[in-house]
Symmetry: C2
Subunit: 91 residues, 2 copies
């Protein structure tokens, strides 16, 4: 998968990320990866669900993975959970 | 899987849910399902990651699924995303 097929979900309104995902598929992407960390994880799930239920035809959830990343902060290292949801065009 | 092997994650501190998951495995459960909706989804991922990385030996993520649930509220029906993370003992 190419790097530019990844959408990083942060603190903006969820429809911004939905639009980014839909645009990638409309531009011919076969797979789009939605990634988020920490509190944005729930918004990443919203992004995938809204994109699939309302906008995308012939696209499925291919894989969902969660992991723990170590982040450097001013007060030392801390762990943060992350999620990756891969959507893939079928047929 | 029995009903009592499900941990519903809400707004309490994450360690409450981690303890609930660990306790189920210590009481002999082979699988524990972690469920959450809406903003609690990120806490459900934290619960699974902390339980696996810090407390549980010989337990893996078996399956992660996301879905959309329709909820009745005072102002009508609304959609909310949900997640289920199934942890399973190996061997």
């Amino acid at each position: 998968m190419l790097k530019d097929n990844t959408v990083f979900v942060g603190n903006k309104p969820v429809m911004n990320y939905v639009l980014a995902v839909v645009t990638q598929f409309n531009n011919g992407a076969r797979e789009v990866s939605i990634k988020a960390r920490g509190k944005a994880i729930s918004r990443a799930v919203d992004t995938a669900e809204i994109a699939l239920n309302r906008f995308l035809e012939g696209v499925n959830k291919k894989q969902i993975t969660t992991s723990t990343e170590v982040i450097d902060t001013d007060s030392g290292k801390t762990n943060v959970s992350s999620i990756e949801i891969v959507l893939a065009a079928t047929g």
